[in-house]
Symmetry: none
Subunit: 209 residues, 4 copies
Amino acid sequence: MEAVKERISSKRELQKEARRHAIIDAGFQEFILQGFTATKLDDVAVRAGIGKGTIYLYFDSKESLFEEVIRKNLFPVRDEAEHFSAEFKGTATELLTMHIRRMYASLNEDNMPQLVALIMSEATRFPTLADFFFREMVSRNQEMLRKVVKKGVASGEFRESFPVEFTQILIAPAMISALWRLQFDAHSPLDMDKYCEAHIEFVLRGLKA
Amino acid sequence: MEAVKERISSKRELQKEARRHAIIDAGFQEFILQGFTATKLDDVAVRAGIGKGTIYLYFDSKESLFEEVIRKNLFPVRDEAEHFSAEFKGTATELLTMHIRRMYASLNEDNMPQLVALIMSEATRFPTLADFFFREMVSRNQEMLRKVVKKGVASGEFRESFPVEFTQILIAPAMISALWRLQFDAHSPLDMDKYCEAHIEFVLRGLKA
Amino acid sequence: MEAVKERISSKRELQKEARRHAIIDAGFQEFILQGFTATKLDDVAVRAGIGKGTIYLYFDSKESLFEEVIRKNLFPVRDEAEHFSAEFKGTATELLTMHIRRMYASLNEDNMPQLVALIMSEATRFPTLADFFFREMVSRNQEMLRKVVKKGVASGEFRESFPVEFTQILIAPAMISALWRLQFDAHSPLDMDKYCEAHIEFVLRGLKA
Amino acid sequence: MEAVKERISSKRELQKEARRHAIIDAGFQEFILQGFTATKLDDVAVRAGIGKGTIYLYFDSKESLFEEVIRKNLFPVRDEAEHFSAEFKGTATELLTMHIRRMYASLNEDNMPQLVALIMSEATRFPTLADFFFREMVSRNQEMLRKVVKKGVASGEFRESFPVEFTQILIAPAMISALWRLQFDAHSPLDMDKYCEAHIEFVLRGLKA
DNA sequence: CATGAATGAGCCTTCATTCAT
DNA sequence: TATGAATGAAGGCTCATTCAT
């Protein structure tokens, strides 16, 4: 009896989890399309294929759904990046090259530019979001880049004079390309492969000893 | 009699213009604090020190106020940049250096980072705004940069191989620094002067023949 | 000196009176076009060629302007009708015929159908208006018609059996034609001359002994 | 299971339909009392015993509610009249008599005079309404009357010389009586039964050969 | 658990009225 | 006296949230 109950309940658990994800995904789409304020929970419900009230069985409020949406979509990217960084073997030049290429791959994935833009635009109204984003994404990324640069300096690949506290400079072109594609692709499309290679060459020239 | 009337009317004209600017400024503050949708005209009115209905004596709608806010705050920057670019004499290296320094000066001005972020976040929902911003700001800036690069190539200062269609790469660190200051300054402040100089050195190394 | 002052003041009086009429006329046009609630004093001012505030130098409120508009446009019609009725000599048949023809002439005048429709539609919200209209227009008209019918009965022109308390029956086709022209002329226009003659013939047949 | 669900849903359907009618009825009362513009949806909601927003679950806008109000209140009258007209057997005189009596019965029903007055007063601002009213009510009624008159002429009951294009003349007294009762009943009440009979006699005398 | 009908606070917008010039 | 800028109360409409089914 209990086993049956458990099986049923775990089935239910699975269904609940699946539905939860469906809502988060639907919310994600709406939030990146409309922004936080302009998103209607009605539309989220329609997109998720559920009733409007059901959302409140899974989330306390529109705001908490938003937080979950961000969280769920950023964690995989962060985890991937950490995993990659931990495993890579090679020269600093190779590592930096690979890292930048991976950034473009991430940014080319569906919805990544939108996600970044969404975070940028809502961060002011959600200080928690800015904290979270800085802690989980930005600072880790910076740390990684600093290590690479220092490694290159140690190995004689890179010049000593580059200030490691400004690693933003190294990846800024990639971030900007994401915003560009989101807003200006219709006006003037970017050839991302060539852009990426130009970025890499530029960075290596800027860093080389 | 007519002189009096004119004086009076010009007084009124002046007052109207002053009030118009007050509304635009108040709107600017609210829009960058709250975003377009979340901004209440009530709050704009309070901030401008006027009645709610008064806004409609000067603007047709919340949307048209928004457009005016963007316009009024972008034009000066654009005009300054154009004027500067038209008059400058010197080597390509000097010109590029000055141009980047000027960008940081602009971006350090109050509210400029907020303005950029605002435009970025609302552009998706206001295609007109994206058009406008691209046309009046982005494409002009690109054109200017292309000219500088070409000039440097012609004079032998810069290498030929840098792809002039990707001038975004050259100024991306400046844009990113603006967003950084807006969102992450509390977590990790940037020394803008040093950052600027690092950016310039980086760009010159990346471009040099 | 005083004579001059008087002349001036009477000049001013005239101007004031003229302006007052201009406002009433403008109000009339707007009221019959839009109805009371939907009429904007702004539009009235524009039509009268004056400033919005000026209206309040002549009228206490939108409502009192409305009352004046009705009053001013009904009095002439009433006075004309009274004058005509007092002077006419002839048989009852002739008198009734003339009276009906005059009604059509009135109703064909510009804005008369609109005025009637306006009164009809606003009377519920302006009980005073209904009182006024009944007292000054409707009851007098009824009285007039009763006299004609009685005169015709006395002279043997009309049958005795027609109930003189229902003189509405005699003029209803004229009233209806006014409303018809206002609302349905586009769908099915009325030849007013023929309609009028048909009405007269119908009434005379209905009344004849 | 499904049966239960169906029962429940049909219960809900019924409730929804009931509420829809409640809103229409409340709207009707407010519209005839205040006119379209002056009617507040707040008041409609209060009268219907619901919340303000609920109205928008059933109607797109104040205007579409207005249209439904008119439609719902006119169709029954129209359908009844058509049914009656299609089935009646008898002489033209009898038919016309019955038709007029039926009109008075309709007009004596609660709110009918108000409805007519409402349509009259709003038709100018709602051309669609005028179209609708003309098409569904006026022209059909006219057609019916024309047939009756022609039938009477054919049977020798009525004179040939009455112009069938002016059937308005035949029913005008009934329409006017409705407006009278609405506006002037307090000043001078009408004995509707006697008025109706006087109207019928008058019409028959006016038409008889 | 799921639903969607119901709610009402809240916002944009309008306009009669006031008042400084 | 005349103006029109300014006001703020009020109304149509939206939507996050609740709750009966």
